[in-house]
């Protein structure tokens, strides 16, 4: 499986853990339900790519956030 496909599946899996009544306003992209976001990620639209970037950045930042515990 290609790396991009694995990332997409990871992001979809993370979105699927959220409750169904959650939404996100993503600037001028608009407002999305959880299911709409999952669809955007699967279709690789600009919004979907923005969500993938957000989720990857979140995962990458977790060690930094954890490190702040020692501050």
């Amino acid at each position: 499986m290609a790396y991009a496909e694995i990332i997409k599946k990871l992001v979809v899996a993370r979105l699927q853990t959220m409750p169904p009544n959650v939404g996100f306003s993503i600037g001028s992209h608009g407002t999305y339900t959880k299911e709409e976001l999952i669809s955007e990620v699967r279709k690789e639209t600009d919004t979907g790519k923005a969500i993938v970037d957000m989720q990857l950045e979140f995962i990458k930042q977790m060690p930094r956030l954890s490190a702040t515990l020692s501050d």
Partner: protein, 217 residues
């Protein structure tokens, strides 16, 4: 008397949250003795904002809405300030709470005489729960994200420099991260997970250009 211009369109869910979460800034500014020009709803047009910037000459400009690398948009996505009209922000400290405005629009405003420009390099994301969209101030998912960004105008109103205001938001966001991460509910409350993702995203892309020591008071 120092002057503040606030713009807060209100035509979709995202701008509705920004509209209501800006109210506490207006209240605080007025109680701190500032002269506040509140441009709201469908009044947030290019003509009105550029006109008020030129006539009021505010010390602090706080614009809410949607944005892109080269423009800030008002009511119904009307382009209000663009790279070619960024000189309208000359001599001001500006905070644009919208996506993507920092790198190009922020840079243009500084090149054309702006004192400081605070904004986001990428998307500004608001998480929410649908049952709260008629009561944005009560939404527990949106609260940490909007409180973190509200630290910027609050700090400026209370005498902080532009750089200190950005740091105040980072510090507040960090406190929120830790509170959420170590909440006894975190592992089971998936709303908190969504709030945390947006909080991390917005905090990561918050920055400023211009004079770090600029103050509005």
């Amino acid at each position: 008397m120092k002057k503040i211009l606030i713009a807060r369109p209100n035509y979709d869910n995202g701008t509705n949250y920004l509209f209501f979460w800006s109210e506490e800034i207006i209240t605080e500014a007025k109680s701190s003795g500032y002269n506040v020009t509140d441009v709201r709803g469908d009044e947030v047009t290019q003509k009105n904002i550029i006109g008020r910037l030129n006539s009021v000459k505010p010390d602090f400009v706080f614009l809410n809405g949607h944005g892109s690398k080269d423009s800030y948009c008002g009511h119904n996505l009307e382009e209000v300030i663009t790279l070619s009209s960024a000189e309208a922000l000359a001599n001001t400290v500006t905070f644009i709470r919208a996506c993507n405005c920092l790198e190009e629009l922020g840079e243009a405003s500084i090149m054309k005489g702006g004192r400081a420009f605070i904004g986001y390099k990428k998307e500004f994301i608001i998480p929410f729960q649908y049952e709260y969209i008629a009561r944005p101030l009560k939404d527990p998912m949106a609260r940490p994200v909007l409180e973190a960004s509200n630290q910027i105008p609050k700090s400026l109103i209370n005498g902080s420099t532009a750089s200190e205001a950005v740091d105040a938001s980072h510090k507040f966001a960090k406190k929120q991260f830790l509170e959420i991460l170590f909440s006894s509910k975190y592992s089971e409350d998936l709303y908190l997970n969504g709030a945390l993702m947006a909080l991390v995203n917005n905090d990561l892309f918050l920055d400023m250009k211009g004079d770090k020591e600029a103050k509005i008071s």
